[in-house]
């Protein structure tokens, strides 16, 4: 995409004329605004941006963006977006999905889109509940969680989005709290720059059906102590007073306190998002204390469309056919006089 001819946009250019209809206090508002703020920073032409969603609260998102968009059917946004991108590689294609949309009904497309590595951006609004259908447990709901469809407690163990994604060969995975718009905006911009499928999990509070589901990690008062926001090349350090860090002890990550037992910053793990080996990324994703946010994995790999285009160029170069008539009139043909 050319950046020179792009005009200057503000977030307002990306807001459609449709009234936003999420519940008051929903983190979806934060995500929408963060996206509208991130887009002018990406150097894209507005007409080259496409939002594709499935079904669920999150999936209303495209209606609120003044770009090309499709509000499709449950679970299929990743597959539809793949078709959009394969048809026109110049487009910046965004998938908006939720925990049910991506990992329950759309689970198959979700793992395969990650495996193929098309240059797509997937924003997963994870609120550990079905919101639009009014409160059933989702594939990320916790065991024991009481919902409309599990009044005595959920008995189905959850997926961790990051663990599943990296298991499905995701090369880019980021996680961010739904109440940290500045970092979210940065991650959206990084995701667009990254070539390949990027998955961004937003820990999104649902104030109606699952209020406070992430508050022990995301509430303002606790988040610096409970969250580790990783950045590539920087030591893994967290806490209000920046006194905590992560080290690798055998096959386990361990929280240490700087200054205790002679531990210095030098001893801490330095985040490398760009390595192919996902072992450490998986460990970071699984960690509950601290909850790791930021770009956990960003390994640069060949994209699906690059492989396809290279193959097409090679086949074209070696082909004797330029028009379909060349094919139709080739081989075993005969004349009737």
């Amino acid at each position: 995409m050319e950046t020179t001819a792009v005009k200057e946009y503000t977030y307002k250019d990306f807001a459609s004329d449709q009234e936003v209809r999420w519940c008051p206090g929903c983190d979806d508002y934060v995500i929408l605004r963060s996206m509208q703020k991130a887009l002018p920073e990406m150097g894209l032409k507005k007409e080259d941006v496409v939002f594709i969603s499935g079904i669920g609260c999150s999936s209303r998102f495209p209606y609120y963006m003044d770009t090309y968009g499709m509000h499709s059917i449950h679970g299929r946004a990743t597959a539809i977006a793949s078709g959009v991108k394969l048809a026109n590689h110049n487009l910046s294609v965004w998938v908006i999905t939720g925990d049910g949309d991506s990992m329950a009904i759309g689970g198959n497309h979700f793992i395969h889109v990650l495996r193929r590595n098309l240059d797509l951006n997937i924003v997963l609004f994870n609120n550990e509940i079905y919101g639009l259908t009014k409160g059933q447990f989702s594939p990320t709901s916790l065991v024991g969680q009481k919902t409309k469809s599990s009044p005595y407690g959920n008995t189905q163990p959850p997926f961790s989005a990051g663990e599943l994604a990296i298991g499905a060969r995701a090369r880019f995975f980021a996680r961010i709290g739904g109440n940290t718009p500045k970092e979210m905006t940065d991650i959206f911009i990084a995701s667009e720059k990254y070539k390949g499928t990027s998955l961004i999990e937003v820990l999104q509070n649902c104030p109606i059906f699952n209020d406070g589901c992430f508050s022990k990690y995301t509430d303002k008062e606790v988040r610096e102590d409970r969250q580790l926001y990783v950045e590539h090349g920087k030591p893994m350090i967290f806490g209000k007073t920046k006194d905590k860090g992560l080290v690798l002890n055998g096959l386990k990550l361990e929280v240490v306190t700087l200054g205790e037992n002679g531990i210095t910053q030098e001893d801490l793990l330095v985040h490398n998002a760009k390595i192919e080996d996902p072992t450490l990324h998986q460990m970071l994703v699984r960690l509950e204390y601290p909850m790791v946010t930021g770009i956990i994995r960003s390994f640069e790999d060949v994209t699906f469309e690059e492989r396809e285009d290279a193959l097409t160029a090679q086949v074209k170069a070696n082909s004797r056919f330029t028009k379909t008539d060349d094919l139709f009139f080739s081989g075993d043909i005969y004349e009737v006089k």
Binding site: E47, I80, V84, K85, A87, N88, L91, L327, I333, E335
Partner: protein, 618 residues
């Protein structure tokens, strides 16, 4: 055994049906294809039908592992692969046992006697050897020690292992049949030269065996009189033999080139539709994009995405896959984007009969979606016209901005016939509804006044940013609307849009008679069987029978009722228990639609149809 005539005369036949049968590893498909290609090049009309087991390599010699290939060639018009055969070539006892009932009494069977061992006879559940127990006295049986003769022919060729030698015995059989029907071996020898370019000893071996079979037949006194089938009277032009699935794929290639769009196929493998995927994936040189998706749903939804972004998008499947695609097809209808879905029908329900043919997806094609979601439904009727209807499906989807469902079936998809090659230059123009720039007061759901098609605003076009989706749309802005009157209006306008396609499709025509006592109605892949049955009846003097065959199912051609009116009786013939007849009944009142149905996974046979029509017409 029937004594063989000894005169040196040549019998001149109008048409002959030959079936090659053997183990699934015996190369019967190749043998049959070579014979039909050679005959087509000689100028005969041909129709073929392969019949192979669902198992890829069934146990050798078993009854269910028999693979067959039937060829119907003629100096007259040939519209089906035929029913009963004039010549059966059986490479083993299992092949003989499973196909004997198809041989016309008094006609010829060639067998490889080397294969009639105790072991093979047991596997075929023969308690006695049919070659010895007198059970074949109604046929001319030509016993040939084919395996031994093949080995003998190759004794001087170096570098061949035993397996390769034995496997070339199918070429011995082909050589014999070439001689019997006065066909040249040239085409097949050329084929060897191309196919085994890097393997000169294989070329030599196959050529030697083919010629050995040819000369063996010539010198063998037991061979009945040689047959001659003169070239058929066919329209002037350049031809090739084409399979239905290939023709379907090529129709889309032509449509993409003509419309100036790139072709996108999203598909998931399923019998008997996979060959369309196999064919299109070869043609990356034309810029064809294919995605073998993770499932049927991703097949269609990726195509919907590609269509949204401006490609000519298609998805291919069979009945079970169409069931999975239903919801997404409803979305494509709702957002009014172009999309072609090909359903190569097979025996249903559920997994049903994957390798057999049936016409039982018609009502699924018409109604298999939630809500009221009409789409265009077309049906191809011969292997060759799969090309035309794939092209027509692409043309209609682009010009009318609605999904088109194209029905073919296993019978025409795997069958082959001569195709008079159509140059892309001679095909009708394809317009599309793309808009390139913003005009004042533009709205996503503006429609063309005549066709009611909306316009196609593709991502990447400045100023036309808009949203589509499965929720009901405001009639103009395309914004989500729950307004009751708007919903009723939109349901009606989507139906009216499909109805108006009638103004753009050809009138329905009749064959053989425009009025009379009996009208035979068919649709889709049964054309060949119905056409030839009515044709034979006319040749026998039944001038009171007319025939009309439907390719346009939804909407039906405008003049349909005017045809119905002119006949005393109407019989609707289908390979299901009566689906098209339901559509006719809901559209046309006051007619007594009789039915002729067959649900055996098999095409109609000529005799059954003729007998039935004769009874109805008198």
């Amino acid at each position: 055994m029937i004594p063989v005539k000894t005169e040196e005369t040549q019998e001149i036949l109008q048409a002959v049906i030959i079936r090659f049968v053997g183990d699934s590893g015996d190369g019967m498909q190749l043998t049959g294809t070579q014979f039909s290609d050679t005959s087509a090049m000689f100028g005969n009309d041909v129709a073929t039908f392969p019949n192979y087991p669902a198992e890829i390599r069934a146990p050798q010699g078993s009854l269910y592992g028999v693979s067959g290939y039937q060829v119907h060639i003629g100096s007259v018009e040939i519209s089906t692969p035929g029913d009963e055969v004039d010549l059966l070539v059986a490479m083993n006892p299992a092949g003989l046992k499973t196909n004997l009932q198809a041989v016309k009494p008094g006609h010829t069977i060639i067998v490889d006697t080397d294969a009639f061992t105790k072991k093979n006879l047991d596997k075929a559940s023969y308690t006695t050897n049919p070659l010895e127990d007198g059970s074949l006295t109604n046929y001319r049986v030509i016993e040939v020690t084919m395996t031994s003769l093949t080995k003998e022919a190759l004794k001087d060729v170096q570098g061949l292992d035993n397996k390769t030698i034995t496997r070339s015995k199918n070429m011995f059989a082909l050589g014999m049949v070439y001689w019997m029907y006065h066909r040249s071996t040239d085409h097949t020898i050329d084929f060897f030269k191309k196919k085994f370019k890097s393997n000169p000893e294989i070329i030599e071996a196959n050529t030697k065996v083919l010629n050995a079979g040819y000369y063996f037949a010539e010198t063998l006194e037991l061979i009945p009189n040689a047959y001659t089938i003169t070239p058929a009277k066919m329209a002037k032009g350049t031809y090739r033999i084409i399979m239905g699935n290939t023709a379907t794929a090529w129709g889309f290639l032509a449509a993409a080139e003509k419309s100036g769009l790139e072709l996108f196929l999203g598909s998931y493998p399923i019998t008997p539709a996979s060959d369309i995927l196999h064919e299109l994936v070869k043609h990356k040189h034309f810029g064809v994009k294919t995605l073998q998706a993770e499932d049927e749903i991703a097949g269609i939804t990726s195509a919907i995405g590609a269509s949204f972004a401006g490609d000519l998008a298609i998805t291919t499947t069979s009945g079970p896959g169409l069931a999975l695609k239903g919801e997404a097809l409803g979305l494509a209808m709702m957002i009014e984007l172009p999309l072609v879905v090909v359903d190569v029908q097979r025996g249903g329900p559920s997994t049903g009969l994957p390798t057999k043919t049936e016409q039982s997806d018609l009502l699924q094609a018409m109604y298999g979606r939630n809500g009221e979601s009409p789409i265009i439904v077309l049906a191809a009727s011969t292997p060759a016209n799969c090309f035309n209807f794939a092209y027509e499906a692409a043309k209609l989807t682009l010009e009318h901005m609605t999904p088109v469902l194209l029905l073919t079936d296993g019978y025409i998809a795997n069958g082959s016939t001569p195709w008079k090659i159509q140059s892309v230059d001679d095909l009708p123009e394809i317009k599309n509804n793309r808009i390139k720039e913003r005009k004042d007061n533009w709205h996503p759901y503006d429609r063309d006044e005549d066709s009611l098609a909306r316009y196609w605003a593709v991502p990447g076009t400045p100023g036309l940013e808009h949203r589509v989706g499965g929720l009901e749309k405001d009639r103009v802005t395309g914004n989500v609307s729950y307004d009751p009157e708007n919903h009723e209006y939109m349901v009606k306008i989507r139906a009216e849009k499909i109805k108006r396609v009638q103004n753009y499709i050809p009138d329905q025509t009749t064959e053989f008679a425009d009025s009379g006592d009996l009208l035979v109605i068919g649709w889709g892949g049964t054309y060949g069987s119905l056409h030839s049955a009515v044709k034979h009846l006319h040749e026998e003097g039944h001038a009171n029978i007319g025939f009309t065959h439907f390719n346009y199912i939804n909407p039906l051609p405008k003049n349909t009722e005017s045809i119905l009116k002119k006949f005393k009786k109407i019989v609707v013939c289908e390979l299901n228990s009566g689906q098209f007849v339901k559509i006719l009944k809901t559209n046309f009142y006051g007619y007594n639609f009789l039915q002729y149905n067959k649900i055996q996974g098999l095409p109609f046979a000529n005799n059954e149809l003729m007998e039935h029509f004769k009874q109805l017409a008198t």
